[in-house]
Amino acid sequence: MQQIKRTKPKTYRSPDASIFYSVGIVLLAFVVLTFIVSLFATPYSPDATDAASKLLAPCPAHPFGTDNFGRDVLSRVMSASKYTIFISVAGVAISLILGTVSGIPAGYFGGLADRGIMLLGNSIMCFPGILLALVAVAVFGASVTNVIWALGLVFAPTFARVCRVGTMEIKELDYITHARVMGVKPLRIMTLHIFPNLVPQLLPATVIGLANMTLFESGMSYLGLGVQPPDASFGKMLSDAQAYIRVAPWLIVFPAMMLVFYILGLYFISEGLRVTLSKGGKR
């Protein structure tokens, strides 16, 4: 006698982590594959100039066109992926190390040490990155290394914050109390007991850090402080290309595409991680 009633038919559930992963991995794989291939071979030498064939639009010989030096953009994009990936990974590694080494003790011990470390972090965050890059150039000489150091230092406070807040939460949990009762030394507590539990929070931060570093590096390139010519990173290629935006848009399109792929890939993976980890936490 009763009609079957459906309250709001709805088939959607919050997106699966696997969707994020697959999109992210496809995008990232594209960039990483380019990078791996570039280690062995590029169609042309990425630095070889050829005044005769400058600013060629994409054609069979140069699928991505050539730049104002007559260099093959495809080859340059490939070799740029190397620098972009290397710089972002190494930079994140440095800031991750600096951040955890300062953030965890700050959160664990609190008090004056915490104040001091956070003060230093805030000061660095207020300090213009460009000036820092200049200092790095002066101290380490003009090379990729100085870019990495500068980036590592600029981003370290972000990681320190994540670590500090996470540590402050975790140290109140019973298992840390238990470890203290058992007589485990603070250093061991911080490294073996707390750090592994920060990983879920650090992972997305790391992925976002990779993306942010890439952007920051390109900003530095724009001011001539990033990768030194004739080497290229995506950011540098973009800043070099801006003068030709009207006559040779391919100079901007392809590096921008790769940059967007790289960052988008990273973001999707971080999103997937977030979903996975938040589910894991609830279980």
């Binding site: 630095d47 005044a51 400058k54 150039v137 003009a142 001539g224 010519p229 004739p230 801006q242 003068a243």
Partner: protein, 507 residues
């Protein structure tokens, strides 16, 4: 929800505002009547005609101050505040006749005492000065006096036949010492205001001694961060004149709105080789580098072909002082370069670095092209970008570098161009040392005869080429975009903007 709706409304209206105001933006400077806006890339800072050294300052104050003599856009040195000069036979006494009827911007009349004061000030002879010349080239002046018939007599320490071109130094009112804050000169435009980092505004000098000039009521020199920023401003119509463009950028402009003028700049772009570091201290290596590079390609890449190839330290724009016989000495010859390197013991090449100022894109690009070309002969050149201050400190003053790329600017005085190759000169940052050249350069100012001097200059150039003291690349063409709404603009082969003859098109 009410809040949300309000916010949406604000958002939409903001968007509307965006569109309408953008439309308004473009019109701002275009209808400015009888005014012109010139884009400059160097921040001005010094307006004192005697302490000014940076080229960027000079391009503005050229319109404010005038000297006894003045260059025109063809490089001719013409009488200006002087009507003529008599030079003694040994070239140690210069006697100038001062022009009548010239008024300073503050209304006072120009007379000999003003000239004496100005020249003394420039050469450091005023009471209270320690004798160091503000204009270092005028250091050799021993005394300046006004003769009874209103002429000005300049006596030199020693004979110097090359000094006339430095009497372009600006003349200021007697005992006036506030040129930095409130410049007062006799030029076609009066100084109006300076907004650091933004603009310098000049106003018409109604009492200019050349009747009918200038045409414009005011000129604004607007600071642009770099060439590309200037280009964007040109494209958006907010500046009328923008010099120092490259051809490929100039080509992006709408030709109905802008005329593109090009002219030799009388600059010498040099691939400077530090003569005192290994392996560049070997003349064979330097020659090899000269043979290895392709100047035409460099010009093509950096200036889109708009440049004159150079093989020696002087631009052909210098006329007779330039030695045509040296043309083609270093045409690209890879085999010869390799042979020379092998002879010097570097058959497998070597590693050097090139320190370039990051603010000059043309030099950075030149270095990139050079690095690519040098690779062909086995020389591995690493490029290091440094900022301008570091470059000046480390490379120019400190001379701590292997190679660098820079452009040497000069006035039309040939001595200006070549003086730096004296081994003791402050500007000899390439550490070049050749006793013959030193001797020649000492002799030149003492030689009164022009032809003789020219021959000596040719000898110097010959030595420089023979020693391959560095690799000279090009005299980059100055490409200037001028709005079609203006006419009468002349490109100078110097770092100046002469606005006196510019007027609105059709007037």
């Amino acid at each position: 929800m009410k809040r949300f709706i309000t916010r949406s409304i604000v958002a939409v209206s903001a968007l509307g505002l965006l569109v309408t105001s953008l439309a308004g933006c473009g019109k701002k400077n275009a209808d400015a009547n009888n005014c012109a806006v010139v884009g400059i890339t160097q921040e001005p800072g010094i307006f004192d005609p005697h302490t000014v050294v940076a080229a960027g300052d000079e391009e503005i104050i050229f319109n404010v101050y005038e000297g006894l003599y003045k260059y025109d856009h063809e490089g001719n040195l013409n009488p200006c505040l002087a009507t003529g000069v008599e030079i003694s036979a040994d070239a140690s006494v210069y006697t100038f006749t001062i022009r009548d009827g010239v008024k300073f911007h503050d209304g006072s009349d120009l007379d000999a005492s003003d000239v004496v004061y100005s020249l003394k000030r420039a050469s450091g002879l005023l009471d209270g000065q320690d004798g160091t010349a503000l204009v270092s080239e005028l250091d050799s002046i021993r005394d300046v006096t006004a003769s009874s018939d209103g002429k000005v007599v300049v006596t030199l320490e020693s004979s110097n036949s090359e000094l006339l071109s430095y009497f372009t130094t600006g003349i200021i009112p007697e005992n006036y010492d506030n040129c930095q804050q409130a410049p007062v000169g006799t030029g076609p435009f009066k100084f109006d205001s300076y907004n650091p980092g933004q603009s310098v505004i000049l106003k018409k000098n109604e009492n200019y001694w050349q009747k009918g000039l200038p045409y414009l009521d005011s000129v604004t020199f607007k600071v642009c961060a770099d060439m590309d920023a200037g280009l964007t401003e040109l494209a958006s119509g907010s500046i009328d004149i923008f010099p120092y463009l490259t051809t490929d950028r100039a080509n992006q402009l709408d030709s109905s709105k802008y005329n593109i003028l090009s002219n030799g700049s009388n600059m010498v772009q040099i691939f400077a080789l530090n003569n005192s570091v290994e392996p560049l201290n070997d003349v064979r290596v330097r020659k090899a580098i000269n043979y290895a590079i392709n100047r035409k390609d460099i010009i093509s890449v950096t200036m889109d072909g708009a440049g004159v190839e150079l093989t020696t330290a002087m631009s052909p724009a210098m006329g007779s002082y330039y030695d045509k016989s040296l043309d083609g000495t270093f045409d690209q010859d890879i085999e010869k370069a390799k042979a020379l390197l092998a002879e010097a013991g570097y058959e497998n090449g070597f590693d050097i670095s090139c320190t370039v100022p990051s603010s000059y894109l043309i030099h950075v690009n030149t270095a990139v092209e050079l690095a690519s070309e040098l690779k062909a002969v086995g020389i591995n050149m690493e490029i290091k970008q440094v900022d301008w201050a570091t470059w000046l400190d480390q490379v120019y003053a400190g001379r701590q570098y292997d190679t660098t790329v820079i452009a040497l600017t000069s006035t039309y005085a040939p001595y200006d161009v070549l003086g730096r190759y004296k081994s003791t000169d402050d500007g000899n940052f390439i550490n070049y040392s050749n006793s013959t050249v030193d001797e020649l350069l000492t002799r030149i100012p003492q030689t009164a005869d022009v032809n003789e001097r020219t021959a000596l200059y040719h000898q110097v150039l010959g030595c420089l080429t023979e020693d391959a003291c560095s690799a000279y690349i090009q005299d980059p063409t100055t490409i200037t975009a001028v709005s079609t709404r203006l006419e009468g603009y002349n490109v100078y082969p110097m770092y100046v903007q002469d606005m006196s003859k510019v007027k609105l098109a059709g007037n």
